[in-house]
């Protein structure tokens, strides 16, 4: 079995269970994001993959061989820490060549590799600078180069972009993705920023309370969230309680939602704001009253009261209907885009 395999991973800190039971298969060369709110166990999971924490139960395998018991320094991986952890007493070049130097590589080999990496991160000529002389973005890149110096099999990053300002973050996300594609290295990034995950990852692993809620490509996570947690965490959504009628069709407060079926007696309907359309009264599935309108320039968000539930519909300014607070409207849901969730 090739790739990284996590089998039955569990981590307890005393009585606190940080990670409940993780089973995950990551193919070689893929870019994976561990996404979730703080405290969901994603960093703990990453640290276990790195060997900085030992799992209470379970195994970690790389290409079939069990590395669970192998100490960090023998695991041949590259890691970028949230604080970057660059060595303050060494220059940029000395930081990058650290892994080579402690393995006894010759000065010539060290210099060659450092030059290669400096070029890759667009910092050629910066080798002799002290870390303290670099900007945040530059330090980022040095940390990346240092981690990749020995071309490791696994590239791990713990919230690498959290310290950067918004604009720099966005450009770094793209750069990171491009770098990974070029090198073809298996990469795992921990982040709490869903936009980041959606931008960079092949597979997004949504975690909550120590468990994996869903592991799938970004588009699937968005379109077909597996449960309420994922639906709510990724993007904005409307969660509506629905019940089952005699024919198995879902209904919201008595109104029949044609085309949407329900297996259980109760459930939740997840509809993205862009999949809700506001029509004239009498049209659509249910009726509601406009409560609040928010014009954000690129989109217009309209909050509508539907029998005690508030839904938010968003559209572009062009599609906007002339509405005011208090107006009655008809509300329809895109059947194909709505998702029925059980929990």
């Amino acid at each position: 079995m090739s790739g990284l395999t996590l089998s039955g991973i569990r981590k307890e800190f005393g009585t606190f269970v940080a990670v409940e039971k993780i089973d995950l298969q990551i193919p070689n060369g893929s870019f994976v994001c561990l996404l979730g709110p703080s405290g969901c166990g994603k960093t703990t999971l990453l640290r276990m993959i790195a060997g900085l924490e030992q799992p209470t139960n379970g195994e970690i395998l790389i290409d079939g061989s069990d590395i669970t018991g192998i100490p960090t320094h023998k695991r041949n991986l590259g890691m970028v820490f949230q604080s970057l952890a660059l060595f303050p007493h060494l220059t940029v070049a000395e930081n990058i060549s650290y892994a080579l130097r402690i393995r006894g590589a010759s000065k010539k080999d060290q210099t060659a590799r450092v030059d290669e990496l400096l070029e890759m991160i667009h910092l050629s000529g910066y080798g002799d600078r002290k870390v303290s002389q670099l900007s945040g973005g530059q330090r980022q890149r040095v940390a990346i180069a240092r981690a990749l110096a020995l071309s490791p099999k696994l590239f791990l990053l713990d919230e690498p972009l959290s310290a950067l300002d918004a604009k720099l973050r966005e450009s770094m996300q793209v750069e990171l993705r491009q770098l990974q594609q070029k090198l073809g290295i298996t990469t795992i990034v921990v982040t709490h920023d869903q936009r980041e995950a959606m931008t960079m990852a092949d597979i997004v692993v949504v975690m909550g309370e120590g468990r994996i809620r869903q592991a799938a490509p970004p588009v699937e996570i968005y379109r077909k969230p597996a449960d309420k947690f994922v639906a709510d965490f990724i993007g904005a959504t409307n969660l509506l309680p629905i019940t089952r009628d005699s024919g198995g069709v879902a209904q919201l407060n008595g109104a029949k939602l044609e085309g949407i079926t329900l297996d259980e007696n109760e459930g939740t309907l997840s509809v993205r704001p862009e999949d809700i359309h506001l029509l004239s009264v009498g049209e659509g599935t249910v009726e509601g009253t406009v409560a609040f309108i928010r014009d954000l320039g690129a989109t217009v968000e309209t909050f509508v009261d539907v029998d005690g539930h508030q839904v938010m519909a968003s559209c572009s300014p062009r599609e906007r209907r002339p509405l005011q607070v208090g107006d009655k409207v008809g509300v329809s849901f895109d059947k194909g885009a709505s998702v029925v969730l059980t929990s």
């Binding site: 604080s83 952890a85 981690a147 020995l150």
Partner: protein, 267 residues
């Protein structure tokens, strides 16, 4: 605080601190062999006597040996201890931190007495090396405090980063931890060296009857026979200490070593 008030206050304290130094300097250049102040005549002979008089010379030698020996011993105990407490989570081990701080916060006479009884009981009383051990243990607190302070300024994740880059514990210490803690080790050494040179009672109770260190000799000189040499010695010590600390300041960040991490000027 207005500026004039500040300068006056700082100046007053500075004057207070300098007064004894003025006296010492004055006495040390006195021409006659008496401790008169202000000095009568001027002579630098007493500075020379430190090195020409056999007794003063041996006292100087004893003090320097004691100071360097105990400083090395103190560091050798303090560094592994503070490193261990920083690197690993082991709350019970803090008892050793307490043991390391205790000798210094207790009144020196107690530590001195403890050593006296210990050396007397063990039968080694009077051997010169017992002074080095006594001082080494007594002054452990100093490098312990400086290195503990130093470790708090090191980002722990550099240890983990080092590990991911393939370094085992030993390599991590050699290539990352030690270079970063070195300034604090040196300042701990400097403190211990300087304080040991001038320490009286612990040294006295350990080896006072067999070996004369400079402070012991000075105290005896004060009691039994006056020579300005002792003032010359003291002034020399202050000058040497000033030199040592100035060198430390030149090559390192002295405010940072003493705990001021603010970097630039504090507003």
């Amino acid at each position: 605080m207005n500026r004039i008030g500040t300068y006056l206050f700082l100046g007053a304290v500075a004057l207070f601190l300098l007064l004894p130094l003025v006296v010492v300097l004055g006495v040390s250049v006195n021409e006659k062999q008496s401790l008169t102040f202000p000095p009568e005549g001027f002579s630098l002979a007493w500075y020379g006597q430190i090195f020409t008089d056999a007794e003063w010379r041996s006292a100087l030698f004893n003090s320097l040996t004691l100071a360097s020996g105990s400083a090395v011993l103190s560091i050798s105990i303090a560094l592994p201890l503070s490193w261990f407490l920083w690197r690993w989570y082991a709350p019970w081990a803090n008892i050793f931190r307490l043991l390391g701080i205790a000798p210094f916060i207790l009144p020196p006479v107690i530590t001195a007495l403890g050593f006296l009884t210990f050396w007397a009981t063990s039968g080694f009383y009077g051997e010169p090396w017992t002074a080095i051990v006594s001082h080494g243990i007594f002054f452990v607190t100093l490098p312990l405090v400086t290195t503990t302070l130093g470790f708090t300024s090191i980002d722990k994740s550099v240890v983990e980063a080092s590990s991911t880059l393939g370094a085992n514990e030993f390599v991590i210490f050699k290539t990352v931890v030690f270079p970063l803690i070195l300034p604090y080790v040196i300042s701990g050494f400097a403190f211990t060296f300087v304080l040991s040179l001038n320490e009286y009672i612990v040294a006295y109770m350990s080896v006072g009857f067999t070996m004369e260190t400079l402070p012991i000799k000075i105290f005896n000189a004060l009691r039994y026979g006056y020579t300005p040499t002792m003032a010359a010695v003291s002034f020399l010590f202050v000058a040497v200490a000033a030199l040592i600390f100035a060198v430390v300041a030149r090559f390192g960040d002295l405010p940072k070593l003493l705990g001021n991490h603010s970097g630039g000027d504090v507003k």
